[in-house]
Symmetry: D3
Subunit: 297 residues, 6 copies
Amino acid sequence: MTRLTLSLACITVLGFALPMLAVAQTSSSEPLRIIMFGAHPDDCDIRSAGTAAKWAALGHKVRFVSVTNGDAGHHEMGGGMLAMRRRAEAEEAGRRLGIEYVVLDNHDGELVPSLDVREQIIRQIREWDADLVLGPRPNDYHPDHRYTGVLLQDAAFMVTVPNIATRTPALRKNPVFLYYQDGFQRPNPFRPDIVVDITDTVDKKIDALDAHVSQFYEWLPWHAGYLDQVPKDPVERKAWLKKSRAGNITPEVRAALEKTYGKDAGSKIEYAEAFEICEYGTRPTEADIKRLFPFLP
Amino acid sequence: MTRLTLSLACITVLGFALPMLAVAQTSSSEPLRIIMFGAHPDDCDIRSAGTAAKWAALGHKVRFVSVTNGDAGHHEMGGGMLAMRRRAEAEEAGRRLGIEYVVLDNHDGELVPSLDVREQIIRQIREWDADLVLGPRPNDYHPDHRYTGVLLQDAAFMVTVPNIATRTPALRKNPVFLYYQDGFQRPNPFRPDIVVDITDTVDKKIDALDAHVSQFYEWLPWHAGYLDQVPKDPVERKAWLKKSRAGNITPEVRAALEKTYGKDAGSKIEYAEAFEICEYGTRPTEADIKRLFPFLP
Amino acid sequence: MTRLTLSLACITVLGFALPMLAVAQTSSSEPLRIIMFGAHPDDCDIRSAGTAAKWAALGHKVRFVSVTNGDAGHHEMGGGMLAMRRRAEAEEAGRRLGIEYVVLDNHDGELVPSLDVREQIIRQIREWDADLVLGPRPNDYHPDHRYTGVLLQDAAFMVTVPNIATRTPALRKNPVFLYYQDGFQRPNPFRPDIVVDITDTVDKKIDALDAHVSQFYEWLPWHAGYLDQVPKDPVERKAWLKKSRAGNITPEVRAALEKTYGKDAGSKIEYAEAFEICEYGTRPTEADIKRLFPFLP
Amino acid sequence: MTRLTLSLACITVLGFALPMLAVAQTSSSEPLRIIMFGAHPDDCDIRSAGTAAKWAALGHKVRFVSVTNGDAGHHEMGGGMLAMRRRAEAEEAGRRLGIEYVVLDNHDGELVPSLDVREQIIRQIREWDADLVLGPRPNDYHPDHRYTGVLLQDAAFMVTVPNIATRTPALRKNPVFLYYQDGFQRPNPFRPDIVVDITDTVDKKIDALDAHVSQFYEWLPWHAGYLDQVPKDPVERKAWLKKSRAGNITPEVRAALEKTYGKDAGSKIEYAEAFEICEYGTRPTEADIKRLFPFLP
Amino acid sequence: MTRLTLSLACITVLGFALPMLAVAQTSSSEPLRIIMFGAHPDDCDIRSAGTAAKWAALGHKVRFVSVTNGDAGHHEMGGGMLAMRRRAEAEEAGRRLGIEYVVLDNHDGELVPSLDVREQIIRQIREWDADLVLGPRPNDYHPDHRYTGVLLQDAAFMVTVPNIATRTPALRKNPVFLYYQDGFQRPNPFRPDIVVDITDTVDKKIDALDAHVSQFYEWLPWHAGYLDQVPKDPVERKAWLKKSRAGNITPEVRAALEKTYGKDAGSKIEYAEAFEICEYGTRPTEADIKRLFPFLP
Amino acid sequence: MTRLTLSLACITVLGFALPMLAVAQTSSSEPLRIIMFGAHPDDCDIRSAGTAAKWAALGHKVRFVSVTNGDAGHHEMGGGMLAMRRRAEAEEAGRRLGIEYVVLDNHDGELVPSLDVREQIIRQIREWDADLVLGPRPNDYHPDHRYTGVLLQDAAFMVTVPNIATRTPALRKNPVFLYYQDGFQRPNPFRPDIVVDITDTVDKKIDALDAHVSQFYEWLPWHAGYLDQVPKDPVERKAWLKKSRAGNITPEVRAALEKTYGKDAGSKIEYAEAFEICEYGTRPTEADIKRLFPFLP
């Protein structure tokens, strides 16, 4: 069987026989199933709403999951009432992107990599029958971000073990796990294994961010000390948002874009999202990546 | 408004003004919503399947919830595989009774009154929009039983607080909470506040117990040392089950039956279930009890 | 030495030699030091602001401690912002009563009897150098109330152990611990060991409750469904508050009042607060009670 | 089979069919196996060293287990070094009584009823293959005492479940569980179900207490404020110890002694220990009690 | 003293004075004491059974410890019953290798780096009086593997602190700690500091793996989707096992083999195990390595 | 505004817009506020007492915080009594350095990165209104050191969130966070971003270490096996301490010294302390570093 041979070949390179399944072949007619995790109800959007919108446009199924309910992310509100507001904002962002948005009920600013939250994440991945799981690296400036990264690593592989969390049937395959881009260098920098030109969806992305009113127009500007610079006019403030939040392209990502899209095209891309392959999920082959990112050239 | 007056009257008797809502009036055309908790997937059945069957027969909505998945309750199986078997048995018992049966995924024999499990219970009660909640007292021979009792007490009232577990909207009324009957005397014995003649549904009850094959025909007899006495024949073993598990009537319950059903009728009832009103739920008036137990005389 | 003899006599009656110190004699010129615990920033006020005001009027030192910050106690606010509002309300209540009010930073609705919170309480009692500690029984309708009761029991005696929480020097005497009155009957009812006529301070008490605007005029009426009945006018609403919150006198408390204040005077007292002696603190003699409650006849 | 019939009879009385085994018959030639738990390395001694010495004298096997290592029980020492001293004292006390003494390694003053400590206790009971388990009630002045009581309740029955703590094979019978005497009244007082005249072993008991030098001659007198009254001379201080620590006989215990030993003999007994039957272990019949306490008349 | 001089020299290189003891000199006549940790009852075998067999052949003492009981590692069994089967398999593997095999009782798939499990590991290392401790790096595809790595790091040094876990006397020397080989690259790849030619014991190693029937012939093939390829015949399946599980040699390990065994011999070695020195144990000198790995050239 | 422009420039380089505040400008007349964390009451001293003394000499405010109370750091003492001794030693060290020394009350050898301890640290940083926070990296030989590093990372940024730990008002700026030097290489070595010549304060540093009698003259030498080499004479032992504990200069630190102080001067510096900038605090510009380390050339 081709699939198995490939899988064992991969094992040979590593020198270690891991009990991992190859990426199951889904027939081209079935939509891909992608699940993304963020610590707060806006993190997925910042990191990969552009790519999410590309999948959604092709009819693939995307779910964003916020592991905390965001109940600490404001300077004038808090608790359950803020959580409700942010859940509504997240659901609106989901509608704009054409995806599902789930907000789990763990306290913002108090996330720890407990078995309880790990199990919540295992269930999300299983229920979504995910081909692909995305989330932050365990290195980032906010402890909730870091522990979301740890929790995802801890859920990888365990999603396939039938004796764990039996109420939600186990997957027969370990999904591919990817990390979002970040700028942290220690203990090792982000590596852009996969880069996506999001020029065609960057406005959708900004549209999603724009739905998180409590964050991009209130809390984050207040926190950074420039609340007075937020435009009042809805159109103006979305433009302002695009200017400051559409993301910059690092030299490493630029190099990867040129490799993926060709020297010339790659050098001109203005908006991109990048991902690193996590070693704890199934390691995708080149063919797997093509299939999972059907919009790549 | 009558409701409020009653509620304040109740407060006056106690001498303490509790922030509790009176039992909301549900119009007679809407079905009652009852939720019962047990520690293991057979506990609700033993304690009150007879009464559950009476509610179900009248079109009311009943859900049984097992707080643990029962994964330690056998001498030859265990873990997730046993949990799956017991979930299937519980669902079969539910079908036989005409009710829903939910099995949560906490380890059997390891239940503790954590905030995590409390929140699971709060969500169950809220999602079911319960009028009535039943469960064990915090006194019983099995630690899982005791902690199920504690967890229910800890969920009472909190089901009405909107800032708690915001993903599942809070109830506007604290349900009535009842304890199942048990035989323990310390620190104080069970008090049969409400007693129900289950003569007409005792066979349904035995039918439900009979679905828990792993328990009543395997584990419990093995544990008690009389596995060899379990009949092989399906009809015989159900009869054997009825003889040993239909319950005995204590003098206190007998007295309450005579009070409720009349001296004569009450003295002849062979099968009954009894309940004690928990002080931490809404305290039902006589009228509330009539409405919640519409089959009482 | 007289003190020791009394103490050993007490031990003989119980038949058990407990390593407890007798109540230390404080010379009459030193003020008494009383600390009261509640689960939320208004609980102490409801249970014993009247007695607190009496102590304060005589120059004794009283501290109220709310073990949670009350961040779940509202229907339109929550989290840290609500906690800040309630801390300010509590401090205002303290000013009105002539006492200190401390609000600890544990989440409302999520209190558990952990070692961490136990240690917070041990430190409060030690720092206050308390002669007398008051709090709820471990039986009450709200889990935070119950666990505050458990935590106080768990702090009793441990406040005297020098190896525990060494940063705050241990007390040389275990204080007297008292429970507030409540109406719960299971597993055993409240016993009014000490009763206090608060007729002269009931208006101070209502004044303190009135400072908790978020609670008595917003959250609690909303929760109980009569928000529309709250008067808008400040004077009117305080009168309304007194009518509904000044407390009722149960037959048991009435009997104790008649015993303490004399049949005639006791039968006419309109406002009272009552306390039960906790077995885990130092057991006060009659003389101790006289000294600790100098306003008793 | 007689055993089973008795067991079922017992079940009938309670009206509830508990999955409990009857007390297994041990042939008279095999020694009884008794295990006693205390929170600290001297608690078992105070509560029942007299009875332990009687069992030991008849060749029965007794183990004392201290659930904490006592590392907070001193005013001039602490931590691991104190734990080592107290372990040595406990072992010496064990030698004097002719029993085993095990000191577990949990912190003194920080005991909580966790699954981890519960499992330690389950293993102790199983390894000892106990017929009889003794410990404190969950009501007592020291939190470690109370939680030791809770932990024992939580270990009862679970010692018989093979899926729990599999490394130590489960018992086929739930032992009889007894509580030590204490003087606490809330929520309910101790009930002397079994009383033992220890006149012939009271000196052995005092001898055992005398081995806990750090406690009876240092920490406890210091704590209670009479360190200066402790005699320096070894013989004198043991006499002093006997005078203050041999225990008093409450009216309830006196009545039980007269019932057990006869009106006349019972009225004269000077030293006794008393026990209450815990509802969560196997309920012993009169014959079981005779067999388990072979020195009773 | 030579030992101390060496130790201080080592400190100078690092620029930091660590409170570490030099590797104690054991006279050549005393056997070495090696303890290896794995997360599951087959992990030690996969990683280093070949080297273990070499030590055992020379009369040195080796203990394998599985930190979890493996109760989730199957598709048709689970819980305590699976744990019992795997304990028996592990003990059989130990017999085949001439070593001890201990299986701790923590749940498979639920390992967290708690103080409780850390203490279990500290006790194992102390009881074994280990010269050498081996375990996984904190980077690996299974959360239990990673946390076993964390737990070992957390036990290092603490095994020498007498105030910790006093029931098991502290070691006077911090052992050498080594990591097993793995193929993970992030945050940094495995570094083969010590490599061992296991050509002479590879069949012993396969023999040990063969004892874990539930794993190598059932669960792992089922999980990876090739259960149908497992030979039925005992001889054939062992050959199949050797082919797939004896391990591959990475370029880095090959280079280290050539350095250790000589260019020529090293280039021909077919089966090897490799180890990285952990910075948190005693850092071994070249001489220490020679002594600890007496079969190295 | 200059401040904001700089901050946004920094964001552009990283390619990620982090909600971080720029380092607030403190006018030159206000003293700097520096807080340093160590796991034990001597860790801050070893790592940076020289630099602390330089700040103190210029009138800046420095607080050392020991996260544990050091109650396991001795071979002949332990527990609360040792904690008290070490607190006194730490306070003496603080007096000698002209700084404050706070010892928190968490157990030595049992530190875990819990929310409870994180909150203690958040409060310390906020109460001190810190411009600069220093602590260990999460790589070090002692688990308490590593978890202190994790806890500091987890407190960074959260100190600025008003909804967290509301009792202590949040900072409006995320301080600069620095790591102390250590010698560990995995997963990545320490990087000397900032180096300080402490030649003028090294004797003050040794003076501070000298105050920790229980550590430098008792426990550490005993642990390392050279207790007999500790001089008895106070002057001699301080000289001995300087010889062994003043620190060595690694090649990386030497290179940084030459860069900072000039090739010539830098090559001759005998005593230095070095720091790495943590990515989770505010990233200081060159100007910020000059301002925060006013004694740098």
